[in-house]
């Protein structure tokens, strides 16, 4: 059967890739082992978080699905770092896993040009270095591009103490044959590990001894298209481990697969199992545990912070040592999972596999972790696969444009030795890369690509127009008497009349304070806050812009794909090898590779000048 594109896997990366391809008009097949695992949230029941919330908004701004889908299944929403500055605020939403899955499956089914196929993909068809299709359940399907989004399913096994299963997450079937086929095609695969805590019955928990954690009904949702706020929110609960919990773990540590050598895969540092936390931070007296709902009014709860691969009897003992969990009953035990994935240094910044023309990949297969990281890559891989079909140059988002740019550039330039998680600390231009302005940064690009429909474009233009009007209104002068009046409410005194903008530069003046000074039509507190941020960060934003402009010059110098780095004698050996492995697309990318010095870059520059003449 003939398709233009085939997407392998229908997790958070796969669905974005498939939707992007189909929406851009390409006949697309999406292959999943089991329809029930479409957009399955195999671990925590939430979307967003620090850095990750930015990714969701960026995916949305470009015309992706994650934000809309999350909003439709929200149980609670919170602005993390809400008491700090705008640049470090991130949205996090608790979501109903079943609704999230149902909605996405419905969206896939309702999308033109998109066909869902259940079954195991066993091989990728490659001819003369170019991808030609895929084999599913013994049958060949032809296509010009293929996007690999296999998540944690490739030759995976789950581990709970001595119990080891040849299976995917949550008891789903895994992919048994594709790993060997990809290895045979020369793809550099390796083994990573991650884990998840137990799911327990909601009615076996004593919430009365825990701290209730509520959401915030005054904030916006993920998508720029979602109107209104989430009023009906479901709470989470906070409790802690204690000395008894730690004693149980320590006494049984020899039975932990992570410590007795059963597990070989590399796990993420930011997602440690509880046994890891206890062993590495022995002096910490307690660790937080959040009890989060899996579905609305459902029977299961997720026990965040208690990820483990200890045997079942130990899990029962340690969970039940926690306040409020004394009588807890297990629905599913915690487990660790090992899986195959690719070394992302084998990828181009377009997420195309260097060794196979037309083969793209995204998500956990690329060595990342997290639903949001997966969705962001899935969207970009889908977009670039579509552009490959259309003979257009790939869309590469820069580090100063979006967290998506940081994520992909980090993966394909620096590589990663553990499942990669987005963190705000990774973004060097984070004052500019705020979650509130994701649309201003990316929606015009999404429009150009073709994923931003008229409705989104109209909404964006209206919002943008209002922001421009606000910027203009901020230049209005305010008479001294009025300034004095507002200052007085803050216990400050004013000596001069000034513009609204000048007032906002004072740390004690907020957008809410100046709202009454604005024309009636512009009194939108959300927008006013966003524009006020630009004023408050003023000089710092300029600083970032200047750094970005400098970096840009280096990004504009494209390195020929055919450069023979190994024979460049003036380069130090380490630099030669690193450059040969990464094969950077631009001089800027080359300069970010660890082990490549400024002197090496100078040598490269000279080489370029010589050969380009």
């Amino acid at each position: 059967m003939k398709y233009e594109a085939i997407v392998i896997g229908a997790g958070h990366a796969g669905v974005e890739a498939a939707l992007a391809l189909a929406r851009l008009g390409h006949k697309t097949l999406i292959v999943t082992l089991d329809e029930r695992s479409v957009s399955h949230m195999a671990c925590n029941p939430n979307i967003g978080g620090t850095g990750k919330g930015h990714l969701v908004r960026e995916v949305d701004a470009l015309g992706g699905q994650m934000g809309l889908n999350a909003d439709a299944s929200l149980l609670q929403i919170k602005m993390l770092n809400g008491n700090k500055g705008a640049a470090v605020q991130s949205l996090r939403g608790q979501t109903d896993k079943e609704v999230y899955h149902d909605n996405m499956l419905r969206t896939l089914r309702a999308t033109d040009n998109l066909t869902i196929l259940e079954g195991e993909c066993e091989d990728i068809l490659v001819e003369g270095g170019s991808v030609k299709g895929a084999v599913v359940k013994g049958e060949s399907y032809s296509s010009d591009v293929v996007v690999l989004c296999t998540g944690v399913y490739l030759s995976s096994r789950t581990i709970t103490g001595e119990e080891i299963h040849d299976a995917g997450p949550y008891g789903f079937e895994n992919s048994k044959n594709l790993s060997a086929a990809l290895l045979a095609k020369g793809l550099p695969l390796r083994r990573f590990k991650t884990g998840t805590p137990a799911r327990v019955y909601a009615d076996s928990i004593d919430y009365s001894v825990m701290t209730r954690e509520d959401g915030d009904s005054t904030i916006n949702c993920f998508s720029f298209l979602t109107e209104g706020k989430l009023l009906d929110q479901t709470p989470c609960y906070l409790t802690y481990t204690n000395a008894e919990t730690h004693r149980i773990i320590r006494e049984n540590i020899h039975r932990a697969p992570l410590y007795n050598g059963t597990i070989h895969g590399v796990g993420p540092r930011y997602c440690p199992s509880i046994e890891d936390k206890i062993m590495r931070f022995a002096d910490k007296e307690r660790h937080q545990i959040f009890i989060e709902p899996e579905v609305r009014d459902g029977e299961l709860m997720y026990v965040q912070g208690m990820s483990s691969s200890l045997p079942k009897d130990v899990q029962e003992a340690m969970y039940r040592s926690v306040k409020g969990l004394e009588k807890v009953r297990f629905a599913r035990y915690a487990y660790a999972i090992e899986y195959d994935c690719i070394d992302p240094l084998a990828l181009k910044p377009s997420l195309e596999v260097k060794a196979v023309d037309g083969l793209f990949s995204a998500g956990q297969f690329n060595g990342s972790s997290g639903y949001e990281e997966a969705a962001a890559q899935g969207l970009m891989a889908g977009i670039n696969a579509a552009r490959k079909l259309e003979n257009k140059s790939p869309v590469i988002i820069r580090r100063d444009e979006a967290y998506i740019g940081v994520l992909i550039d980090d993966l394909v330039t620096k590589g990663t030795n553990e499942p990669y998680r987005m963190m705000t600390a990774r973004a060097e231009y984070r004052l500019s890369l705020r979650q509130d302005n994701a649309d201003a940064r990316l929606t015009p690009l999404g429009r150009e690509i073709g994923l931003v429909d008229d409705y989104r474009w109209a909404k964006f233009s209206e919002r943008n127009g209002k922001k421009d009007a606000l910027r203009a209104a901020f230049k209005t002068s305010v008479p001294l008497a009025v300034v004095k009046e507002i200052y007085a409410t803050k216990g400050e005194n004013a000596a001069f009349g000034m513009t609204i903008e000048e007032m906002l530069k004072r740390s004690f003046i907020s957008a809410a304070d100046i709202l009454p000074l604005l024309p009636e039509a512009l009194r939108d507190i959300d927008l006013a806050e966003e524009v006020a941020v630009e004023v408050k960060y003023g000089g710092y934003l300029d600083k970032e812009k200047k750094h970005a402009a400098d970096a840009m010059k280096m990004e504009e110098k494209v390195l020929p794909e055919t450069l023979d780095y190994l024979s460049m004698e003036n380069l130090r050996l380490e630099a030669r090898q690193k450059l040969d492995k990464v094969r950077p697309r631009t001089l800027g990318q080359a300069s970010r590779i660890s082990g490549v010095s400024p002197a090496d870059i100078a040598v490269l520059i000279t080489y370029l000048v010589r050969t380009q003449r």
Binding site: N81, V88, C271, M423, S507, N570, S594, A599, T606
Partner: protein
């Protein structure tokens, strides 16, 4: 693009030294220091013409040639200015320091060439020449790396970076894991303040480092006829200055250099200080005080056993940075209880005096750590500036701006040793804090 500057001739040898600037601010920076009868403002400067004028910065006032290349017709394609001054490392370095302190940034290795390339200005022939230059640069880097690694300097920079990384990773961890860092104590700003102190110390040791390269200036002061010129001649090992019994023999400052313990000492003999009606002599005394002012250390000579008047001491102490009190003529007058006892005539105590000169000028300012290159000083200066802004932003509770400043501060330091700040910070977050679920 910011404006960069560097010395483009080799330091030390050579009759002429060139300091080069490139960037938007090149001309306006240049004209803060350069003036000539025909050049008073930017419009007066004719591009591609070499003009003679004066370079003035603080006490520095030197004849200087300046040439301006207007963008895009320059090596880098940007506005460029070159200063040509008399050779010798001291002068060229002072000119560079002046433009750096006015806002130019020290060019990193190969940066002029990189800019030229970015502007599409390099031809094949030029590229050939630059290849040689690059390899020369890496040789220099190797030498530098060797000498730095053998010293404690590298460790100190590493130590500073580690402290800053800890400050930053604490803040980053609490931002990336807002719900999990509640119990962590935060002494970040105390740590940042300590780093700031240490950087200032390092920079002042840079001045000591300069002393090693440019030499230590030692002025010999004292009343008339206490044997200053005899002491100079003794230090030099030959009779350079005229010595006589007549009070006020030395009328002008006499300068000569010696090398002691590998350090160049620029010795200045001065006119003796006394009330005088002689106009020439009184001008000489003025100059003595000027010499004391410019010297790194003053040797104040008096006759052993004589009472040094308080007024005299305070007059010298007012103008001098450091003063060593020396009792001369101990061969005939005997030793004093305080001060350094020497005999210019027999040479007794002279080495002890020179040791003391080195001790007060170099050791006290930690010159053992101070083998600083201008490039390093520039990095530390920028790092310090960013850190100060960060501490300021912290006081205003702009956490995310503090992060921007601290990162800039670390990155400036990282330029000395290389390595990515971001990776270090993230590693530090996970090794120090139990975060993540």
């Amino acid at each position: 693009m910011d404006t960069i500057a560097a010395i483009s001739t080799s330091l030390g040898a050579g009759a002429i030294g060139i300091v080069r600037m490139s960037g938007e601010q090149a001309l306006s920076l240049a004209l803060r220091f350069f003036s000539s009868p025909t050049v008073k403002k930017a419009e007066d400067v004719v591009p591609n013409h070499l003009g003679l004028g004066t370079f003035t910065s603080g006490t520095l006032r030197e004849k200087c040639m300046m040439v301006y290349f207007r963008a895009p017709k320059s090596y880098t394609g940007e506005d460029m200015v070159e200063f040509q001054v008399h050779g010798g490392s001291y002068l060229v370095t002072r000119v560079l320091e002046a433009v750096l302190s006015a806002g130019a940034r020290l060019a990193s290795p190969g940066e002029f060439t990189r800019r030229a390339f970015m502007a599409g200005k390099l031809s094949l022939d030029e590229a050939e020449g630059i290849r040689a230059m690059i390899s020369a640069e890496s040789d220099a880097e190797l030498r530098e790396a060797y000498s730095l690694m053998s010293g404690r300097f590298h460790d100190r920079i590493e130590g500073l970076m580690q402290s800053l990384t800890e400050v930053l990773s604490t803040m980053e961890a609490s931002l990336d894991y807002p719900e999990e860092m509640e119990d962590e104590a935060d002494d970040s700003m105390e740590k940042a303040a300590a780093v700031k102190e240490e950087m200032s110390t390092l920079l002042s040791s840079y001045d000591a480092g300069k002393l090693i390269k440019g030499g230590v200036t030692v002025a010999i002061l004292g009343k008339t006829n206490v044997g200053k010129s005899s002491l100079l001649n003794r230090l030099l090992g030959y009779p350079r200055a005229i010595v006589s019994e007549v009070h006020g023999t030395t009328r002008d400052v006499v300068g000569e250099s010696i090398v002691y313990q590998g350090v160049k000492l620029n010795l200045l003999d001065t006119a003796g200080i006394r009330e005088t009606g002689d106009e020439v002599e009184s001008i000489g005394i003025e100059r003595s005080l000027d010499a004391a002012k410019s010297a790194d250390v003053v040797i104040y000579v008096s006759e052993a056993g004589s009472q040094t008047e308080d007024e005299e001491i305070s007059k010298v102490k007012d103008v001098a940075r450091k003063v060593l009190f020396v009792n001369n003529k101990i061969d005939i007058l005997g030793k004093d209880a305080t001060g350094i006892n020497v005999s210019a005539k027999t040479g007794e105590g002279v080495d002890a005096l020179l040791d003391e000169v080195l001790r007060v000028t170099l050791v006290d300012s930690r010159a053992t750590d101070a083998l600083l290159e201008e490039r390093h000083a520039d990095c530390i200066r920028r790092s310090l500036r960013a850190l100060e802004e960060g501490i300021d932003a912290f006081k205003k509770e702009n956490t995310e701006c503090v992060l921007v400043d601290l990162r800039e501060s670390i990155n400036a330091l990282a330029e000395i040793g290389g390595g990515s700040a971001t990776d270090k910070i993230i590693d530090d977050v996970f090794s120090r804090f139990c975060v993540g679920k």
